[in-house]
Amino acid sequence: MLEKEHDLGELYREIILDHYRSPRGQKEITDPDIVNEGQNPVCGDEIEMKVRMKGDIVDDLGIHCAGCAISVASGSMLSEIAKGKSIPELKKIAAAIKAMLTGGEVDKEIDLGELSDVEVLEGVRQFPVRVKCALLAWVTLIEGLERYENGQSGSEAATTDDRSAVD
């Protein structure tokens, strides 16, 4: 029986473990414009996100993620990337990350190497079951941003079954 390529070190690279042990972005946001929750029901990852906007730019955001190392690390990296970016930019970045993880078509405009440490998530590709963990934070963010764009606010739970949020 052929075993697929598997190197645990690719999944849990030192940078990811660092983000897991000391996750960035865990702060309170007063008067958030967006509050959104996300869940990965399969393995019990839960994330709560609060975002303060200035127009269509993310002014500040706070993340609280209780979950596996991949979901926490991804949320931590997101908090370093999102600040100061516009909604259209963030949608493109989310799509690029999804493409990196699922082997989809990569947008040449986005250089993930320039964005925090998010490139190290590429190892998750070898572990398809964990892709949802890596995408949870982004799915949650984009869903919140889209609702904000449509003039809604308040929280609803995103789950990583909602593919449309990151397309």
Binding site: P41, C43, C68
Partner: protein, 428 residues
Amino acid sequence: MSHPETRMKTDVLRPPFVSETLDVERIRKDFPILSRRVHGNPLIYLDSAATSQKPQAVIDALSQYYSEYNANVHRGLHTLSEEATAQFEFARKRVAEWVGGVGLDELIYTKGTTESINLVAATWGEQNIQKGDRIVLSRMEHHANLIPWLRLAEKSGAEIGYIEHHSDGTLDMDSAASVIDERTKLVALTHVSNVLGTVNPVKEVVALARRFGAVILVDGAQAIPHFSVDIPALGVDFYAFSAHKMLGPTGVGFLFGRRELLESMPPYQAGGEMIRLVTYEKATWADLPQKFEAGTPNIADVIAFGSALDYLEQLGMDSVRAHDKMLVGKTLDAFRDMEWVTVYGPDNPELHVGAVSFDVEGIHPHDLSQFLDSKGVAIRAGHHCAQPLVKSLGMGSVSRASYYIYNTLEEVDTLIDSLVEARKYFVG
């Protein structure tokens, strides 16, 4: 044609086995999958609560059926059909004896515990549960013994009452006595919890139910694999269990139901086999058990389940239980000394069967099971089909190691060592 009894006996193991626990070295040789390697390591399979591995005798029984006497049951007059039918019904007889000698007409073949419970909910349940009635459950039920009742309650307007349990996972009998009241029409309870490992005092709960004439259904999926269950002695109305958690193939389960109840219930699925006379206008039903066995059953797998019972019989269920107690006991002892491990369920291996669920501080169960997998150790992480229970433990998910007859004390050692390694890897 050889007599069914001779055809089915396995001669791989020869009694008598004098050891109080099991000769695991010998047993492991009967399980071909245990020689697999996973990521370069020997497989250490600690997920038998999810499904058990199968001995060669069971695998052979499947092939033998398809190679030698495959035919549809109950329908034909030709030789193959007679042989298949005889073997199928002989397997049912084996199962009936296994659970304390219930009537053959009281033992319905289903595709598993989940289907067994759904059958009762859809027939007896819909017929007998009305608005204002109470269905009593414990808070440690598997989704299979929770969701059918939630649906029934919603549909009928009945309410659900819950029996609480103590922090060590044992059932709170004061809570049971107070929640089972005159409105209660049904008590549905798990015999052994697949998360906490708790063995529930079924007879005592039956007594509480009988005060008000309530019907009692027991989910025995995690019980029957681990110890002898005498269904008539328990005094229950319905009892459900699966083959695949006790060396049998997937896709097979049984429902015991008291004859009077089964006779009063309408059929579950309709189709072939479960009828007597059919016109274009109506149909009449077959006798029990066929009334509830529509369509072609999982013939090979029911027969192979008989082989699984043969295998367990040669080991002796007392030894099976003693072995499990030893492994669970060793795990509980080790975990007790690890300050960063939280264990769920009873601390006493007398009251704790099969599954040990736990949490490692600083490591999410998903990461832990990934790490252990890279060492060849298979545990399970998640909500274990018991989301509300796991949430009530304050967790989104927990890790679970579960044992069966082919696991060794050395494997428990490897589990513990791997947890120590994982702790260094993730926490530092």
